[in-house]
């Protein structure tokens, strides 16, 4: 009866409307046996942090293709900490220039995946980093 599953939130902050990547990831995590809360397009950092809190997720996947990651991610990280959700693994997917990678990592982002990233690698990283109670 005791059954602990990895819960993931897949969210698209910001205003770009390209959600195919987010859906591919959601599907891949589902197929890896995770419970994926998919929130849809155009989420504000506040909406994402609130959904993460209510759903008590282990992982938060942010799909950002607009280039706004340096504005959105810091705000989301801060709100997660405020919500006592600082332990959640945050992953960013999308178009992230090389120079921004260390800056995002310094904020606590646990993984950054660009075009061509393998869903197998993403699942593997989540399984390694998420320690279930």
């Amino acid at each position: 009866m005791t059954e602990r599953k990895i819960r993931a939130l897949v969210a698209k902050p910001g205003l770009d409307g390209h959600d195919r990547g987010a859906k591919v990831i959601a599907r891949a995590l589902r197929d890896a046996g995770m419970e994926v809360i998919y929130t849809g397009l155009r989420q504000t950092p506040e909406m994402i942090a609130e959904a993460a809190l209510q759903e008590d997720v282990d992982v938060i996947g942010l799909s950002i293709l607009s280039g706004a990651h340096m504005a959105l991610v810091p705000r989301i990280m801060e709100l997660l900490k405020q919500n006592d959700m600082g332990d959640a693994l945050v992953l960013v997917g999308g178009i992230v220039p090389d120079d921004d990678v260390p800056r995002l990592q310094a904020m606590g982002v646990g993984g950054i995946f660009g075009p061509g990233a393998s869903t197998v690698d993403i699942v593997k990283l989540i399984r390694e980093k998420v320690k279930l109670a």
Partner: protein
């Protein structure tokens, strides 16, 4: 401060953690439920069920907005199916509930069915208790997209809304057993669809088949020959409540105020007629019954070693032992032990 006291104090993070603990049956679940349980029994539990794509999530969104306008707090449990193949799930009900974001009077939790077949998850009943104890006045429970047999919601909710949409089937679908029988309120959503009035007609005809008045009309029209038809189906067998049908358009809120009024009326009916107490007691008996089954099964499986079980299965497969006899044999071994 324990987790339970934080939940009772309205701490949202604590509620969220408690729900995880409850959903996964982790250590500490029984203790926290023991602390929360005395504080339950205050909320109005409203179930929303219906076929996939009828608009349940959008309707829940609208209902929550309407209740919030009245100043009442709303908890939402949204259930979506677990894949029987991977064990994973996509929980997408929040997509339709974005209007509720940023309101601290609302708390939405998505749950996967995890193999449960009745339209809810096994842990939904306990999750409801946590919401109730945390002080939410209205709790909306959205089932998985339900077909004809997913009626578990009637075992947990005080009021069940069954959502239909135009064009999903003829009048024979409407008189089949199952989901329509559990409706306290029927909603025909997508009322802007030109076929909506026909759906309402089919549902009304279905409801009338079960009413005393229509039986009398039948006798008046055809003579006493047809009297024998009574008693026919009477979906919602409690007397004194006639299942209303409400047209809504959940995308723009049409009909939602009327639906909220109906929910109020039903709540008053439940309280005044004593039906609420009767219903809740029946639900608790059912819950106890299923917990007993689980506990007994667990004890049985723990007491029988797996090789013995395998040999029994072998005997059944070889047609030497009837499954019923095998089950009796295993259970009698348990009582002796």
């Amino acid at each position: 401060m324990t987790l339970a006291t934080d939940v009772l104090a309205g701490n949202r993070r604590a509620l969220s953690r408690a729900l995880t603990l409850i959903e996964n049956g982790l250590d500490g679940r029984d203790e926290i439920l023991a602390e929360l349980y005395p504080r339950t029994g205050r909320a109005h539990l409203i179930g929303v069920t219906g076929a996939p794509g009828t608009g349940k999530s959008s309707l829940v969104n609208q209902l929550a907005l309407a209740f919030r306008q009245q100043g009442r707090t709303v908890g939402i449990i949204a259930v979506d199916p677990t894949s029987p193949f991977s064990g994973g799930a996509i929980l997408g009900d929040r997509i339709r509930m974005r209007d509720l974001s940023g309101d601290s009077g609302v708390f939405i939790r998505s749950m996967a069915t995890r193999g449960s077949l009745g339209g809810l998850a096994r842990a939904t009943a306990d999750a409801l208790k946590a919401f109730d104890a945390a002080g939410f006045e209205i709790i909306l429970i959205e089932t998985v997209g339900a077909g004809q047999a997913e009626v578990d919601i009637a075992r947990h909710a005080h009021t069940v809304i069954v959502v239909e949409a135009p064009g999903l089937g003829d009048d024979v679908q409407a008189i089949k057993a199952g989901i329509l029988e559990i409706a306290d309120i029927l909603v025909v959503n997508k009322s802007d669809d030109p076929r909506a009035p026909n759906t309402v007609k089919a549902l009304r005809a279905m409801l009338d088949l079960g009413s005393q008045r229509s039986a009398q009309a039948m006798v008046n029209h055809h003579g006493r020959v047809l009297e024998a038809i009574q008693p026919v189906i009477d979906g919602n067998s409690q007397s004194g409540w006639n299942v209303p049908i409400q047209l809504t358009t959940a995308t723009d809120g049409t009909g939602v105020a009327e639906l909220v009024a109906m929910l109020e009326t039903h709540r008053s009916y439940l309280v005044e007629s004593g039906e609420l107490a009767r219903r809740v007691q029946a639900q608790m008996a059912y819950e106890l019954d299923s917990l007993l089954r689980d506990a007994l099964l667990e004890r049985l499986l723990a007491s029988v070693d797996s090789s013995a079980m395998a040999s029994v299965v072998e005997q059944i497969a070889a047609r030497r032992l009837v499954p019923h006899a095998a089950a009796r044999m295993l259970v009698s071994g348990l009582t002796e032990a």
